[in-house]
Symmetry: none
Subunit: 206 residues, 4 copies
DNA sequence: CATGAATGAGTTTTCATTCAT
DNA sequence: AATGAATGAAAACTCATTCAT
């Protein structure tokens, strides 16, 4: 067996472990996750975990990382298409919401996580987030585009982007927590949310 | 008299247990909460819990209930003061945020709780929330006041109120999760948040 | 309140406790019996038990004693009626079985109990049981009557009585353990049992 | 080889656990059996039980199964030898009693057990037991042999076999419960028991 | 690479019992 | 006479982890 293949297999098993862990977390919450449950499902011995990870914490870290990347990947494919700034903002906000709702467990896990090494990636409220956080950075650009020709400080642009983000975040979290909201109501809420945000910007503009 | 006093003492110990539990949850999350930890701190035997509560679940229920009431009480003292609708909205939103930030652990515990009997009290997104949820109901009144003289459907008013709420909720949650944000930045964010909300409403009006 | 009345009340509560205990044992077996369960049912505090009994063991002892007496009382009313020895044996055996089956839990509890102070009353196999155990004593008389005019040693009479007793005991225990035996089958078994016993005696006689 | 050996060792420890459990049950009754007691004796940690059994219930099940098999094995080696039906019955009854008395704890445990899945194997009183229960079946054959040339219904044969069984069972149980009966008295009782049974049959015959 | 054996520390819960009042 | 408070000891069970093989 070539080294490559071994490496591949190793990576495969790591993924198998992490994916199984993810499934358990999705079904039973982070509390429901145990080494034994994982290895029972994948038909390995509990000790196998310690071959591929230092301990449970490291495994969870890697799981979080993966989820984080999954989210970032999905999100980064979003803020790009249309040329009209208003439509751009509308489209991308809607897309952002929809993507988040397609992976509710991962989104919650990551975005409500309070551990420092996750927050390193997910915090958005600090002064200067527009350069350190892609999400806010892109939003800033859209907002800036939007206000082309108007006098508005970079600081205010950043704050605006941050609050567009937090308000959208708030809607997403509630939509996830309050499961069982009918599709129609969901759509109404999302559309109204976008309307209000655009209104907020429009006014200042005029 | 003696009976009264006993009842009082009983209530005291119940509170002692619940408060200690609350502290542990705040520090270590709900998973970190164990009967042993509680009784070690308050220097009682584990069995005492079962003197005052049926089981751990009942204790947690009571804890949640208490937190829920604490939040409701604090919140209900909010939406009332000024007569100008715009100022009323500004004031009350600010007050709401501040109160939530004064009891971050309780707020998170309750508002991110996904158990059905908590959601019975905390869900706000369903169609008709304006009559079943005080918070949304009060917000609706303010919004209605705001649009006096304009044609706007009750449905849209409710949606608007719901989204003011979720956006504010989003900001609060992020402010709690991203602990260590400097006071100035905090204030900037809060003020800008309120500004954007008001803007959103203003535009439609004009 | 007169001393008598107090004594009465005391006796009443003792009985209340013991009867409740008996009910629990009947429903959940001796393992299911706990102080708390008793006092929950009779609406007293657990500590009350220690007012009326030294400890749980003493209470169980008293319960056993009561059951034992109940059985003895019921049984002693049995071996007496008819004058024909054969019919006497038939009648009384049948009556004995039926009485035992009317209080299966108590019968099992007592008769299968291996503690010395119960065995003091319930053992029947020792040499000399005919004078020390009423049940065997009465059986001996019937058997003796039966063999009137035949040469048969007292020792053999006692042995015979003991084995009539153990065989009947065996049937009773199985009838209790194998609950759900249809009434008809029950009757067939009981009648055949009596038939065989009588046969056993008859033969030697002729 | 290595696998075989491991399986062997596994079986050894399982047996160690079960045998220890059996000893405890023998001494203190089924209530006295606890995981801790077992593992204290065999000098393992309590958790080891869950390595080899799903839970306590499974372990007890296995213990019962083993006892049941032990009894069945011993018993099945019994009803076979002599050609004379009378002697056959005498021999086998005596052998049955002796075997039961050689493993009193196991016999009691199994034969007085009231759980359905044990009763599935141990019940003997139902109509039709002669075809479903080996013990009764074999007894039926002996009884039938005995009555060769006489008119007797199959039903009566079965009933007779059942009552030979229950009466023997009754004697065995009492001999176990009333420990400390001198050997001579034991023998007298056993012999008289067999005599009475044979008498019962003989009479009808003549 | 993978595992079976084993465990220490922990979990919630139940129990019989004591004692001051 | 009766109890509420309190507990030590024990119950069954789970978990993350280690280690020799």
């Amino acid at each position: 067996m070539s080294k490559e293949r071994q490496a591949l297999k190793q990576e495969e098993i790591k993924n198998l472990i992490i994916n199984t862990a993810q499934e358990i977390v999705a079904k039973e919450g982070i509390n429901g996750l145990s080494i034994r449950k994982i290895t029972n499902i994948i038909d390995y011995s509990p000790a196998i975990i310690y071959h591929y990870f230092k301990d449970k914490d490291e495994m969870i870290s890697k799981l979080m990382e993966k989820n984080y990347k999954k989210i970032i990947d999905a999100m980064s494919s979003v803020y790009s298409t249309n040329s009209e700034p208003e439509q751009k903002l509308k489209d991308s906000t809607k897309a952002y919401i929809e993507i988040a709702l397609q992976m509710p467990d991962e989104y919650m896990n990551i975005m409500l996580n309070t551990s420092d090494n996750i927050l390193e990636h997910t915090s958005v409220l600090f002064n200067g987030a527009s350069v350190k956080r892609q999400a806010i950075g892109v939003l800033c650009k859209v907002v800036k585009d939007y206000y082309k020709g108007f006098t508005i400080s970079d600081a205010e642009i950043e704050l605006t982007a941050q609050l567009i983000w937090t308000s959208t975040f708030g809607l997403i979290i509630r939509l996830i927590i309050e499961k069982n909201i009918p599709q129609e109501q969901r759509n109404n809420l999302i559309n109204q949310h976008i309307k209000i945000i655009i209104n907020g910007l429009l006014h200042t503009k005029s």
